[in-house]
């Protein structure tokens, strides 16, 4: 059984259809890149998968490890091992990163039938994972993302991902707004988290992230449908030719 199975997905926001029959299969350990021009529905896909409320599924199914994802609240998805790295991580003044992550990590553990993590183990894990993405451990005592630079916010998302140990990570334009050094740090973090048990869906507009994080599959999303799928070489082709030549392609089966 595949980890994620999206079949003929149609979704809309405020009666405005955006995804129009998207199909995609992700198996354990695979890294899929979803590329496409602005407005093609990339971020909508991420939002639908994470369970954002304003997004309505009108047709099709999403199965996550055999569960009907549409029936699950956002927190249930997270506890089952789905992680969304936000394109625009929100600032939460007054909410300490430490306190928030302890609540989150223990919510996931409780769901798995595990005991809450001891404070000592938790702190140790935080230091370890922060080092993963060169994040200053002092930031843990600060408010979530407050006053962080764009790069720090993206690194903090990867750090949170490492803390929560998901089975499927969806990265929504995590490379946007990063300079080359930050991109390298973020990519390193992702690569370190790659494992046979963990899958990734990298949503990106540009090819450059994919030179650091080598995907197994590349899909092109145009007008709410996947119009072409291939290996890493497809990303290079897109880099060279842009998206125009694919705009009139018919959908392919996932």
């Amino acid at each position: 059984m595949s980890l994620l199975e999206i079949t003929n997905l149609h979704a809309q926001v405020e009666d405005h259809p955006i995804l129009k029959g998207l199909s995609l299969t992700v198996n354990a350990g695979e890294v899929h890149a979803i590329m496409g021009p602005n407005g093609s529905g990339k971020s909508t896909l991420a939002s639908v998968l994470a369970g954002r409320e304003d997004y309505e599924i009108t047709e099709g199914t999403i199965s996550f490890d055999g569960h009907d994802l549409a029936e699950m609240a956002p927190e249930e998805r997270a506890r089952e091992g789905l992680f969304l790295a936000f394109q625009y991580p929100i600032e939460l003044p007054g909410v300490s990163t430490h306190q928030f992550l302890r609540t989150a990590v223990n919510a996931v553990r409780e769901h798995r039938g595990e005991a809450p993590m001891s404070v000592v183990d938790f702190l140790k894990r935080m230091r370890e994972k922060a080092a993963f993405v060169n994040l200053d451990p002092a930031l843990m005592n600060r408010s979530v993302n407050e006053g962080f630079s764009g790069g720090e916010k993206k690194r903090a998302e990867i750090f949170q991902m490492a803390m929560l140990d998901p089975r499927l990570a969806i990265l929504d334009e995590t490379d946007s707004g990063l300079d080359i050094d930050a991109l390298r740090v973020v990519s390193d973090g992702i690569n370190k988290l790659r494992s046979p048990e963990r899958s990734f869906v990298l949503i990106t507009h540009y090819q450059r992230l994919l030179t650091y994080v080598q995907p197994d599959f590349v899909h092109v999303l145009v007008n709410g449908q996947i119009v072409r799928s291939g290996g890493p070489e497809l990303a290079l082709e897109l880099e060279e030719r842009g998206y125009d030549w694919l705009l009139d392609e018919p959908a392919v089966a996932g």
């Binding site: 409320e53 927190e75 998805r77 997270a78 007054g94 990590v105 919510a107 769901h111 929560l164």
Partner: protein, 458 residues
């Protein structure tokens, strides 16, 4: 007793309705056996009260707060005696105690200071702390120099009423240059047995270059008569007045925790007068209450003062919490900082009205005011009204006032990381509320407040 069901129209018409209560009070006074050092003041105040009457919503300052139902019960006026059991009193005092605060303690039951329950051992030289009533009767007391000189009994009916009644409460006098080493914790215990009308009066004098920290906690003891074990309290109404004088270069922090339960109504006035270069802080945390109106008035009367006013109210059920503040900048070069936060659930109502006057002489004033309300139910309401009147031209004044719901994006972010909706909401509200807790100097008190806030957030 006061028959307010039909009564509270403004003005002289209300006088007759209160006459009986006041006459009974006079009788209670005469039974004291002690001379009343403030007989003239009382008489004048009574006259003002009879002229003013109980305010109604027709008064602009009472637009959002209707006291009729809060005043409707057949209240008995507290006379300074209480038949509260020792166990109930101990339990109430224990519930109000702040772990680690290490404070001097004064226990006040239904408005009367209880020396037996209080703990003032080790009070440093130069500090008097105890019953205002006792102090006012003692010869050579400083009470007469300060008492009744700050609150406006001509304009405020409740200040007049408080002044007209039997006086007791905290008297704290810290002489020049003395730093009070520990906070004074005043624990107010209300008897829940029968509907009671309680008036408390505090006078705090912190002389030049002295410092003092005062914490007040308001709790209820026992249960209503005939309802033993039910945990239900009879309705109560408090009318409290606190006058605080902060001398030149002195520091004073005043923190109140109102947590008497859903049958406790009340109005309060905290009146602070600051001399030059002094620092004064007054913070009010309102948890379980019924209808409450808190008025804080701060007058930084000399240059170089810093004034901090803040509060947090977390309201459930049909709770109604009305906060009025006035900072009257009459002197140049002062800083005032005001921060209020309200969280309203169910059908509860929060009201904030913050006035800042900057008079012509008060150049180089730096005044900041912030009021934020979070409304968590379609039936809850929050009204926020900043009023800045500025007559000086070289000043920095700003205010921010917002009322809204929890940011859905923030909620989604937390849920997407595995927090339940209620965990996420609590975390965000806690962060919102903690801003005001941060204004409290004492760490044990901050911890105490945080714990209580966590209980109030659902």
């Amino acid at each position: 007793m006061i028959d307010l069901e039909k009564a509270p129209t403004a003005g002289p018409a209300a006088v007759g309705r209160f006459h009986q209560a006041l006459t009974e009070l006079d009788a209670a006074f005469e039974g004291d056996g002690a001379p009343d050092p403030f007989a003239d003041l009382r008489r004048t105040a009574r006259g003002h009260f009879e002229r003013l009457g109980v305010p109604t919503r027709r008064h602009e300052a009472w637009k959002y707060t209707d006291l009729r139902s809060a005043l409707a019960p057949d209240y008995v006026f507290a006379t300074g005696t209480s038949d509260l059991s020792a166990d109930d009193l101990d339990a109430a005092v224990a519930s109000a105690t702040v772990d680690g605060l290490g404070a001097y303690r004064i226990v006040v039951v239904d408005g009367a200071v209880q020396p037996d329950q209080s703990d003032l051992a080790g009070l440093p030289d130069g500090v008097d702390a105890g019953s205002l009533r006792e102090a006012s009767l003692a010869s050579g007391s400083a009470v007469a120099d300060y008492f009744g000189k700050y609150a406006d009994v001509e304009q405020s009916a409740f200040a007049a009423l408080n002044t007209a009644f039997r006086l007791d409460g905290l008297f704290l006098h810290v002489r020049k240059g003395v730093e009070l080493d520990r906070p004074v914790h005043v624990i107010h215990v209300l008897t829940a047995a029968q509907p009671t009308f309680v008036q408390t009066r505090h006078l705090v004098v912190v002389e030049a270059n002295a410092s003092a920290e005062i914490v007040e906690t308001f709790v209820t003891a026992g249960t209503a008569d005939g309802l033993a074990g039910s945990g239900v309290s009879a309705a109560t109404f408090r009318n409290d007045l606190t006058e605080i004088v902060v001398g030149r270069g002195a520091r004073m922090e005043h923190v109140r925790i109102q947590d008497e339960g859903p049958a406790a109504n009340g109005v309060s006035l905290v009146q602070i007068y600051q001399e030059a270069d002094s620092q004064a802080t007054t913070l009010t945390f309102t948890f379980a209450t019924a209808t409450v109106r808190n008025h804080s008035v701060v007058v930084p009367a000399g240059p170089g003062c810093t004034s901090t006013i803040g509060g947090l109210y977390v309201c459930h059920g049909t709770q109604h919490v009305d906060t009025h503040t006035l900072v009257d900048h009459v002197a140049p070069g002062c800083v005032s900082n005001e921060r209020f936060k309200g969280i309203v659930y169910d059908q509860s109502v929060g009201v904030f009205n913050g006035k800042v006057f900057v008079r012509r002489e008060a150049q180089q004033t730096n005044a900041y005011q912030q009021s934020q309300g979070v409304v968590l139910s379609p039936d809850a309401k929050h009204f926020s009204k900043p009023e800045l009147e500025i007559y000086a031209d070289d000043v920095k004044c700003s205010h921010g006032s917002t009322t809204g719901a929890i940011d859905p994006e923030a909620l989604f972010y937390l849920r997407a990381r595995g927090l339940s909706e209620s965990q996420a909401r609590s975390l965000l509200l806690y962060a919102f509320a903690h801003d005001v807790v941060e204004m409290v100097a004492s760490e044990p008190l901050r911890d105490h407040l945080d714990a209580r806030i966590a209980e109030r957030l659902t």
